[in-house]
Amino acid sequence: MQTNRLDAQRLTHTYGEGNSAAPALADVSLTIGADGPEAVAIMGPSGSGKSTLLHVLAGIIAPADGRIVWRGRDLATMRDGERTRLRRSDFGFVFQSGQLLPELPAIENVALPLMLGGGSRSAAEAQAGTLLHRLGLGGMLARRPGELSGGQAQRVAIARALVGQPGIVFADEPTGALDRSTGDAVMSLLIGATLGHGASLVVVTHDPEVAAMCSRVVRLQDGRIVSDERAAGEGWPQTTPAGAERPAATTPLGMGVPAAQAALPQHPSYGAARAEQRVGNPMTAQQGWIEASR
């Protein structure tokens, strides 16, 4: 069993050198998934360092100083190639736009991470097809990103992020290019599917409504954490001892995991409850949205 806990300690990062050096992160410490899967929103004004924090936590860039421990290994001391392999095997990514490969149809976009991991193409496409069907994109397997709507493209991106059964999914403004209702639906799906899978979600956003759908909100200002709020007592699981470890029997999406299905409806957070007023809670909204899209 591997724990999906990410420990970041005293992270510092600076862009530029000498007089032009601009501090992006200053002594940031943060733990993700300590008590089981959680949805963490990172907020802050432009230039506060939120995207830099996401890039450092995900191993996309190495911090100037500090440690990021994931499954017993420090990402900060890993070589670039090692971090690249780790991102592929352990993390999933959803970004605002442009993250799907425009030449590949949806099914190949989703199958690609599995093929990169050494999986056979037929098995990878079978798994990708199952996942896309579950996300309501069964009729769009052969469509390319340019032939999909913004919401559909983000659902493909979510499928690609989850197909490798990651421990954490990182999302950078995943609804930034979508209208409000589509954005809410995508966000509900992202949270429901990621947590249902037993993974944590770290989402960078400037949108308070997106943050309100998460179980925890971390605010940054000038590269420092100024607040770290949890949706205490109102729903999102504060401690999930069993969930702190990766569920043994997850489906690719985790939709069939009884614990995950049971946990979310029983623990609607204030954020999820608010989201439910618009589109339902992350899990039920996901099902409803998929049904509606058929």
């Binding site: 862009y15 939120k50 890039h55 095997s89 970004f95 030449e103 190949e108 193409r121």
Partner: protein
């Protein structure tokens, strides 16, 4: 503020970049190749006018020189197009920002055209110097029983000016065509959708040309003379340019269906996305190899002792060499432009854990696939059509062997030039937007 003043101010502020240098190099090679070919045409014209060669032979060789020059023009055009793409690469964000700031579409288009023209002017100047530098080397080549002189290879000033004007006109035309395809809106450029599949009528054109060639040239069903036969070969070669993109599309589809490795899948899908563009990069070399196959047959048919046939074989080798150099430069430049065009995709791939060697392998296979299909297909077509004369060229195989070596060398050079684009992959994949 006029577009010219705005462009000048921004050019001073940003200074030259790697893409500008690559673009100028592309224009320089296009200009140098054009001037070298025109120099050859001029030399044959001067010999003919001075009476240094037999009139009939001189006119025939001059015709062949024009044909060779015509074969290379598509490569020059494609190279200039790639140069323009480089010239306006990475400017879409800046152009979109200018639209947001209130610049009209006309002003933005004018600035993009000025970018392309500025690099074309620099490239033309460098290309002219390059052409002058290689002229003494070309003068060592022997045609019509004697080496060229430098004076023969230097066309009149008006030809130089016309060539420079032609390259600048190509730059202008390609820039306007590029801008028409990419409408720069204040919010950026439109997303791409699936390209139109090529029609099967291309096969009919090729089969008709091949049938006419076999009936008239090989089996001599109708005796229409050597000039008509050469014209028919030219038609056959042109028909191959219609068929080439379709073959590439078909092979890329098969490769994409059967690909087991991510790099192969990516490369095949990218080629399938734009088979015409893929053929444009390798087309000139394929045509040169095809035409060279026919020309290399000449010494064999003449028993190896005929001056004209020797000249034809030399001309074919020279055409393949120039097409090979142009193709190599084109592949390097075009792939560099593509890497820069696809910087968002490369960045996304890097983030999701695609290793750099996979991205690099995809870039190389993206060139290797159409290259091997088009050039291999051209060589196969040439061999097939000269097969009835097998007994001739097996007795004097020198020119055929030279042709094959030139073709293999051109392919190798192109693949080596593609490697020039590979360092860019790391740069674009690992660059991050400021947080």
């Amino acid at each position: 503020m006029t577009a010219l003043r705005l462009w000048a101010r921004l050019a001073r502020a940003t200074g030259p970049r790697a893409t500008d240098v690559l673009s100028a190099i592309a224009f320089a090679f296009a200009t140098a190749a054009l001037l070298a070919v025109l120099g050859g045409v001029n030399a044959f014209r001067m010999r003919l006018e001075s009476g240094a060669v037999d009139r009939f032979d001189g006119e025939f060789v001059l015709t062949l020189a024009f044909v060779a020059a015509a074969l290379l023009l598509p490569a020059v055009w494609t190279l200039a197009q790639a140069a323009v793409r480089l010239a306006i690469a990475r400017r879409d964000d800046r152009l979109a920002a200018l639209r947001l700031a209130g610049a009209t579409r006309g002003q933005v288009s004018a600035m993009a055209v000025l970018d392309a023209l500025a690099q074309a002017v620099v490239g033309v100047a460098i290309g002219a110097l390059l052409a002058l530098a290689v002229t003494p080397l070309i003068a060592r080549i022997e045609f019509q029983g004697m080496p060229f002189t430098v004076a023969e290879l230097l066309p009149p000033a008006w030809v130089w000016l016309a060539a420079a004007g032609a390259v600048l006109a190509v730059a202008l035309g390609a820039a306007l065509a590029s801008l028409r395809r990419v409408h720069v809106t204040p919010l950026g450029v439109a997303q791409r959708v699936r390209g139109k599949r090529l029609s099967l009528w291309r096969i009919l054109v090729f089969v008709a040309a091949a049938a006419a060639y076999v009936a008239i040239v090989v089996y001599d069903v109708v005796d229409l003379g050597i000039a008509f036969s050469i014209a028919l070969i030219a038609v056959f070669v042109l028909a191959y340019t219609f068929l080439g993109p379709l073959i590439i599309q078909g092979v890329a589809w098969l490769v994409a269906k059967g690909a087991r490795r991510p790099a192969t899948l990516l490369a095949a899908r990218r080629v399938l996305d734009d088979p015409r563009g893929a053929f444009n990069i390798v087309g000139a070399m394929a045509i040169a190899v095809l035409a060279g196959g026919f020309a290399s047959l000449a010494p064999a048919t003449a028993g190896g002792a005929d001056q004209m046939s020797t000249d034809m074989a030399t001309g074919a080798a020279l055409t393949i060499a120039i097409a090979g150099v142009l193709g190599a430069v084109l592949a390097g430049i075009a792939q560099s432009a593509k890497v820069l065009d696809q910087r968002r995709e490369h960045r996304a791939m890097h983030r999701m854990g695609v290793e750099l060697p996979v991205m690099r392998a995809a870039i190389v296979r993206q060139v290797a696939l159409p290259l091997l299909v088009a050039v291999g297909g051209a060589a196969a077509a040439a061999l097939l059509l000269i097969l009835p004369t097998f007994l001739w060229w097996i007795q004097t195989p020198g020119s055929i062997v030279m042709w094959a070596l030139m073709a293999v060398g051109a392919v190798g050079l192109t693949l080596a030039a593609t490697a020039c684009a590979l360092p860019l992959v790391r740069r674009v994949a690992t660059e991050l937007a400021a947080a």
